[in-house]
Point group: C3
């Protein structure tokens, strides 16, 4: 997978996350500033947290201004064509899942770059892909949805494990990336289709 394709997929994921964040925020009756911030943190909140935890500062969107432009455009599109995007939610899910795959890979990479333990790398991949939504939910005053319902983070964790299995067989980077992201995308669609969810605990009386 040449870098330029990877960057394109990164951009697609960023836009998908930013649009979904903006749609959620509009339904919470926030004002324009609030909607923009929620859109922003949904898109890059996970990568931001990752960078703060590993000391890679200034954080990602401060070094690559393109993320800011992408989110700004997504935000504007989302508020202008709200009804359109709301109907498209199912198609958006496809791009969202692309984001899940790419962001997990980016997070994994950042950990590998600085020689962290594979378990920590998997945690960084999962965080990059799924903690933007956690910060969004906290700002919207809700218990994070990925702690309650969806199989989401689990897909990233499994993808991370799959990555290291492939890496063990010395696959070239291209195939490693392609394999891992295909695995994540497939797993996510199966999870949605079959309504897989993790066991949930009950309050004890």
């Amino acid at each position: 997978m040449p870098i330029s394709l990877f960057e394109l997929l990164d951009a697609i994921g960023t836009v998908a996350f930013a649009v979904s964040g903006a749609l959620t925020a509009m339904n919470k009756r926030l004002d324009a500033f609030g909607v923009f911030i929620i859109s922003f943190v949904t898109a890059v909140g996970g990568g931001t947290l990752r960078d703060m935890l590993i000391g890679r500062t200034p954080v990602v969107w401060m070094r690559d201004i393109n993320y800011v432009y992408l989110i700004l455009i997504s935000f504007l599109l989302a508020i202008l064509f709200r009804r359109f995007f709301d109907k498209l939610r199912n198609s958006l899910l496809f791009f969202d899942t692309v984001g899940l795959g790419v962001f997990t890979l980016i997070g994994l990479e950042k950990g590998i770059d600085i020689h962290l333990n594979p378990i920590i790398c998997i945690a960084l991949g999962t965080m990059t892909a799924s903690f933007g939504g956690v910060i969004r939910d906290i700002l919207c005053n809700e218990i994070p949805v990925i702690f309650r319902e969806e199989i989401y983070a689990t897909v990233c964790i499994a993808g991370g494990v799959f990555y290291f299995i492939l890496a063990y067989f010395d696959l070239p980077t291209n195939q490693l990336y392609l394999g891992t992201s295909s695995f994540i995308i497939l797993f996510r669609f199966l999870a949605i289709r079959n309504r897989w969810s993790l066991p949930k605990f009950k309050a004890m009386s």
Copy 2:
């Protein structure tokens, strides 16, 4: 604007933010420790987040202990003279607005110091001035008020843009600071007086 005046205004803003945080927290029925923490994050939470994001650590109040002393004194005054300060809320608003101006400038500066993109600098200014309140609201289990109602962050953003317009004309630092903070203070008072607010979105049925 000589440095000493700027430092004085910084101190005034810190005290105003700390007192307003303490008043809010007391109304949420927190205990003394909770009120102190809310007071603290309201005053320096924005600058703390900024420093973590740009990697300027140990963060601001760890390097300049005077912030801690100022907040401690503000906290004590706020709990001792609660009724007095509560009546003074409108006058406090004036000092709060001074804080808005100064904190925006400080945040802008920190970004410029390390040669970040002007857009990022404006984000850092806005964050320094307005995200202490966001952290306060999250800790108090509420959707941040600046995401819903007040024109607040917008004033900082406009102030940041104004700063770079002035800077484009090569104004000396004194006039740059004076111009930007006057702009912010004036804008904020007009916004309050005329009850300006950003467009708010409705939940979709």
Copy 3:
């Protein structure tokens, strides 16, 4: 106190915090991933925040993978033997208090290592020991309990002050550690036994 004993107490505290986090999260009806994350942040959230604030990155659990293993095991034990641990809550409190003492000391140390002001060191100790619970409560969408009810952080602050008093008399490290942690453990038990709490504020009409 030889290092190995200190490490053992650190491990005991980590397990106690992780188990208590998992028990809390199960009662909030989270799924397995949510319970794991809550367990994780309860155990190392305070130290993580501390490390981000002082720029000690990658943060603690990324450099010492043993924390991750300990939390993973605690999490599994907590969900497998939930009923057992729930009955043991009172005994758990003892181990939890050991954690309070050890974590406060670790936080103090980190600040002293980089020559921060004693007040900041005490803040770091308090944060290390008690802000994991703050992050847990925020993620569970509740106002942090230590801002409302329990004397908890106050014990850490008092322990930090006690540490610097002992240090003033040039005690050897062993006695300094033993003295401070004994003080914290004793103070905490007295606080629980006598239901001590900080003054709480009322909402103003």
